[in-house]
Symmetry: C2
Subunit: 493 residues, 2 copies
């Protein structure tokens, strides 16, 4: 009998011919969330099997900078050494605001309370942090330093809501790409704890009974279909759906304007679809991270973004992902960053930000861009007048970034949506409790099913509030909760 | 044995104790979509049972103006009498653009080709249209006239894409509220065709086999739980989810800024949730119609909308729902409509649009609104300069609405998002084929399940493209397709 399996339809328990494998906890996906889930479950005494579709560990986490958004509890060693006292309530207020109009308060509370200890846990796993602080605004340290400003903490409106503190923690690793090192450390722990790791193993479907309680997975290993029983729980850590362009079109078509999906091939939505197949609710599926990583050089933050009508639309000192979020909401694809000779520095080559126009007056630049007289030039004139007083009454950009753009020549940098580098990934996913339990539309937990990382809708769920390190913070922390909870369920059964 | 049912979980076929009722086609919901589905199914010879949770017909359709977006094929009688030739391809291009970044091309094609004949069908059901044309811009006729401009056809960017034509058809009914009459006519047809209509009947869950093929519904009638078999299909026409504020929060939190949900209590998402429960995909769940119905009086269209930074953001001559869509994307809740003494007329009382500031110069108004000098006043100054030449280089407002706002006193009308009247409803729902068949995430039809109206994601699926009458057009037309297809399935079985 040939059975076809689909991530959109569970295999019913009655159709399982035999259990080819039995374990307590099945973890699907070997990115950061899956690794942390496996570590906690194994440490709690559960037998853990981890299926990864690729031939090695890492997932999309290994493609990242390895930066994790951490703080609270008075501060991590890096924060303290740099002179910051990071109060848990400030972290809580920042994350709540960053969660947008439907922030997940219980998760924010749990993470704010537990973030400081999570730092210690990461160190216990073998990660090292140099405990140094780089005050300049950047995407990631080019060195092996640790702490940076990685969000909109110092920018309006966040700055008025929570005392700003830098919280981006990058492990000690020279240059970009610390995510690979992060994953190697976590993967080594997973192996050391005796987790049964199966690579080249594609999970095809969940196995569920009629009431949609989850009992295991159908998995394809070496061309063979295997039925794996999970006595206590399946933890879906299979990434988001940015690589499934059909799903993006149907759920998050606004992201189609951005041109660079960030992810690994595994970010095909299969984890989310499996959760839906047994009644899980996928929420905020329209939301994504979209960025224009225009700094460093940080002097460009002193520039002014305008849309194709010469209008400002954002305080330029907020996080580049918040700026990307607002760029996507502008009518028209032409976006410019205006700078003068004192603030101009060449943007990083990979950003594909070139020069659209230059002139000795802003009127000349305005004219060269084909904008009506009195649009861009009036915007700059207004900006300059107030910047000279250290004020930005329209967008409340912080004083340290305010400088009149009055030193010719003047330049409009070309940040066209259809040409410049706009990386993006998805933030929508399965609704979960802080324990990782997947919830139905009525918010009832689905027995035996957990999710973490971008398969779930976690702390980051609103493009306007994303900060670097937030997705890894969510994946590692709530991956741990899911693994621990699934293991506890194992001990009870 | 007490069984608990949930719209989020199908009742499995094996758990059905007996069939209390048997029919060919079950229709859930007696709004426009359900009525049209029932009519077509019955006319095709199927035995039809319609369950409605309320005590009478109508649903949300009966709360509307009864206006239907119709045209193509050279024009309806009303269009032709008014001198318009409405080419099918213009209707097609308009609807495709109005569908936004993931327009449903097959549905747009089907509707454009079939809209003209759909008009005849509506007349055959007993609706009467006066075939008169009102050229003024309005929400609905206050008289029993028929044809109005009900979308953004004449406005940029739609006007450059398809030859404009008015397509809002209101049945002959004196004053607002033609939706009640529309539904009475359709309901009379339903009854005349022998459809078994059951009021006060709440469908609790779908009945499905292990492969999620749908076989019927569990329904609560007079306090009794009944198992109703649908030999060939269940058609979900149970409305949208705007009244389920938890669902709105998790899927469309952007709509929470609007303050007036438009719907009946039945718009609780139950139809969508039942579809999801058997593997149906819900798409574009973030999208909604949000309006600021600021005209009539149409002279207000000659005004200028600005956000709280004094910036324009839209051509004011587009449909009020498109303006509402863009208002929701502005930072900040303060929105003003600027008019001068020549263009000012009092907005309708129900809009709660009052006067925020007035002055003899725009600088005075700007100051009174607390805006920095040179913001609002520069916006108006630029606008006026070009309007005097009949041009709007920034937003391409059509010449007929362009008039310099230069006759004092000047007025800023207060359209605050947190106070003025912002009606809204949801546009996301189940993905369907033009036949009404509900699709999985992989776009595979779910056997025995159909959806229409706002339970489905139809022609209207993007807030920026909504036009009055589009939802009823979609509900009536694709309700018919669903009923016909389900009945054909009955004949085959």
């Amino acid at each position: 009998m040939s059975l076809e399996f689909s991530v959109t339809r569970p295999c019913r328990l009655g159709n399982v011919p035999q259990w080819d494998m039995e374990t307590d906890v099945v973890v699907v996906g070997f990115g950061a969330a899956g690794a942390c889930a496996a570590i906690e479950a194994a440490q709690a005494g559960a037998v853990v099997t981890l299926f990864e579709v690729a031939s090695g560990s890492g997932g999309t986490s290994a493609l990242s900078g390895g930066e994790i958004y951490l703080g609270g509890g008075g501060g991590t060693p890096a924060q303290q050494q740099a002179g910051f006292v990071d109060d848990t309530e400030d972290l809580y207020r920042y994350l709540l605001m960053a969660g947008g109009p439907d922030a997940d308060e219980p998760k924010v509370r749990t993470y704010a309370d537990g973030s400081r200890a999570h730092y210690d846990w990461l160190v216990e796993q073998g990660l090292t942090y140099k405990n140094t602080y780089l005050p300049e605004r950047m995407l990631e340290p080019e060195t092996d330093d640790c702490l940076i400003w990685s969000g909109s903490e110092e920018a309006w409106p966040f700055s008025g809501n929570a005392k700003p503190c830098p919280r981006g923690h990058t492990p000690q690793w020279a240059g970009w790409g610390g995510g690979r090192m992060l994953m190697d450390v976590l993967a080594a722990r997973v192996v050391k704890l005796g987790v049964d790791v199966r690579y080249d193993s594609r999970v095809l479907a969940l196995i569920a009974d009629k009431a949609n309680n989850v009992h295991g997975v159908v998995v394809r290993i070496n061309g063979q279909t295997r039925y794996a029983r999970a006595r206590s729980g399946v933890v879906l850590c299979a990434g988001g759906f940015v690589m499934n362009r059909d799903m993006v079109r149907r759920h998050a078509p606004g992201l189609l304007r951005a041109n660079e999906p960030i992810g690994s091939p595994g970010d095909d939505g299969s984890g989310i679809l499996m959760g839906i197949s047994v009644g899980g609710a996928a929420i905020h599926m329209d939301q994504g991270f979209v960025s224009l990583p225009f700094y460093a050089p940080e002097s460009l933050i002193k520039g002014v973004f305008v849309n194709e009508r010469g209008q400002r639309f954002i305080n330029e000192d907020c996080y580049h992902g918040r700026i990307g979020h607002h760029i996507m909401q502008q009518l028209g694809d032409r976006i410019y960053l205006l700078v003068d000779s004192a603030t101009y520095q060449q943007p990083a080559e990979f950003t594909r930000i070139g020069i659209a126009a230059a002139g000795d007056t802003w009127e000349e630049v305005e004219h060269d861009l084909g904008m009506p007289a009195g649009t861009l030039s009036a915007t700059v004139s207004n900006y300059n007048r107030h910047a000279a007083d250290g004020a930005d009454p329209l967008f409340h950009k912080a004083a340290k970034w305010l400088k009149p753009l009055d030193e010719p020549p003047f330049v409009a940098l070309d940040c066209r949506v259809d040409y410049a580098f706009y990386p993006h990934f998805t933030l929508g996913g399965l609704d979960t409790l802080p324990t990782g339990q997947v919830l139905s539309e009525k918010r009832v937990p689905i027995h035996g099913l957990y999710a973490a990382g971008r398969t779930s809708c976690g702390l980051p769920r609103w493009g306007g509030g994303y900060s670097s390190g937030m997705s890894l913070a969510d994946a590692t922390f709530f991956g741990r909760q899911a693994g621990r909870h699934a293991a506890a369920s194992a001990c009870r059964s």
